[in-house]
Amino acid sequence: MSTEHVPTPGQTVGPFFGFGLPFARGNELVEPGTPGAVRLHGRVVDGAGEGIPDALIELWHAAPDGTIPDATGHLLRDGTFAGFGRAETDRTGGFWFRTLEPGPTEPGAAPFIAVAVFARGLLDRLFTRAYLPGEAAETDPFLARLDPERRDTLVAVREDDGSLRFDIRLQGEGETVFLEFDA
């Protein structure tokens, strides 16, 4: 006797989430100076190439050893690495996080950061992935299914300073690949 429960629809995060969702140092998953800390940064842009100043990005990812964080304290930023981060975009659509690079969760799996995107004007959240650049991304079976051109939208770019750049384009040229999971 299984009853089917139909999911509640999503709605836009609206323009004023800025006082509801962001929390202190939500974009800092680790303290400055933590060994292995990396800056992950990018811009959220619309179909005209303009930065979106009222978007919110969430990250959720494994620890460097590939384990899934299970400690509480995601909102506290008390030095516990909890694998979750949240940042609102600035006036130019820019965001940044300080975090640790995730390791593969299974032998040979390409490490990635799960990303959720919210914005005013976006009626439901979008999911995507930021894969770490490198050999594993070259051979990953999921990425291999995509056109090479679209595939690149899911792989972060290593900048000269060692940081990772991951831009999110909601529409148009270079539109980011967004993911759909079975309900």
């Binding site: 089917e4 709605q11 995060v13 959720w60 995601h74 799960a114 999911f127 529409q171 967004f178």
Partner: protein
């Protein structure tokens, strides 16, 4: 005054309403011809003008959730204070407006309770004003109301907030555009693929048919899922009126562990 009086460039409600009616009629026709029900808002919904350049034009790529996506961030008792669930006690005095209790259950698509997960809310005050620097609506700010709350669901998936009924407010989508009163909700499930942000509305709001954001859910039954129900059992004597709003997240792909099953069995008692 001047700015509000001089906005002839904004489109009239009639034009927006006609576009909404056309999109809904096309959906009804497709349904009659056997198309499946749509349970989510349309990302590409023209009457919500802000969505024009902010919706992906390519279909999402189907993915099997991989390890990290099959788990959710873990929030615990130490992340939030139990006082954060009462939005009427965050400042020195009583906020102005109709005090309400909003209570409901968060379950997944299989009917399992979403346990001990974070529920976040934010909303306008009774005058329809947010505490936000970009909110220029000239309605009064309430010094005793921040409009932000957090709680964790209990072991059976229940959440409860005490707050003030928000007011409707104008926005610039078109001429004389007003949002129906609503409370924003942010939810996590037992896996990250269940993450959702949505809005709870109040029953009988006359602004429903006029609102492109609410109407972006073209299926009437799906739309109705965002409307809370007045519940006299939640209403408190000489204190607050009560609303019931249940939230269903998508199903989970997570393996059901033995201890989960044991807990579910306990729920039946």
């Amino acid at each position: 005054m001047g700015e509000r009086a001089m906005t002839p460039e904004l489109e009239p409600q009639e034009r927006l309403s006609a576009e909404i009616a056309e999109l809904h009629a096309a959906y009804d026709a497709a349904r009659a011809a056997g198309a499946p029900a749509e349970t989510r808002p349309r990302l590409d919904f023209g009457p919500y003008r802000s969505s024009l350049l902010r919706h992906p034009t390519k279909d999402p790529v189907h993915a099997d959730p991989e390890t990290i996506e099959l788990f959710s961030p873990v929030f615990g008792e130490r992340d939030i204070s139990p006082l954060e669930a009462d939005l009427t006690i965050q400042r020195r005095g009583e906020p102005i407006g109709e005090r309400i209790v909003v209570r409901g259950r968060v379950i997944d698509g299989d009917g399992r309770p979403v346990r001990r997960q974070l529920v976040e809310v934010w909303q306008a005050n009774a005058g329809g004003r947010y505490i936000h620097k970009r909110d220029q609506h000239p309605a009064p700010l309430d010094p005793n109301f921040t409009g932000v709350g957090r709680t964790l669901t209990d072991d059976d998936g229940w959440y409860e907030f005490v707050t003030i009924k928000p007011g409707p407010y104008p926005w610039r989508n078109h001429y004389n555009a007003w949002r129906p009163a609503h409370i924003h909700f942010s939810l996590f499930g037992s896996e990250f693929t269940q993450r959702i942000v949505t809005q709870m509305y109040f029953p009988g709001d006359p602004l429903f048919p006029l609102d492109p954001i609410y109407q972006s859910i073209v299926d009437p039954a799906a739309r109705a899922r965002l409307v809370a129900e007045y519940d006299h059992g939640i209403t408190r004597h000489e204190w607050a009126t009560g609303y019931r709003w249940d939230i269903v997240l998508s199903g989970t792909r997570r393996t059901v562990f033995e201890h989960d099953l044991a807990e579910e069995h306990d729920d039946e008692h």
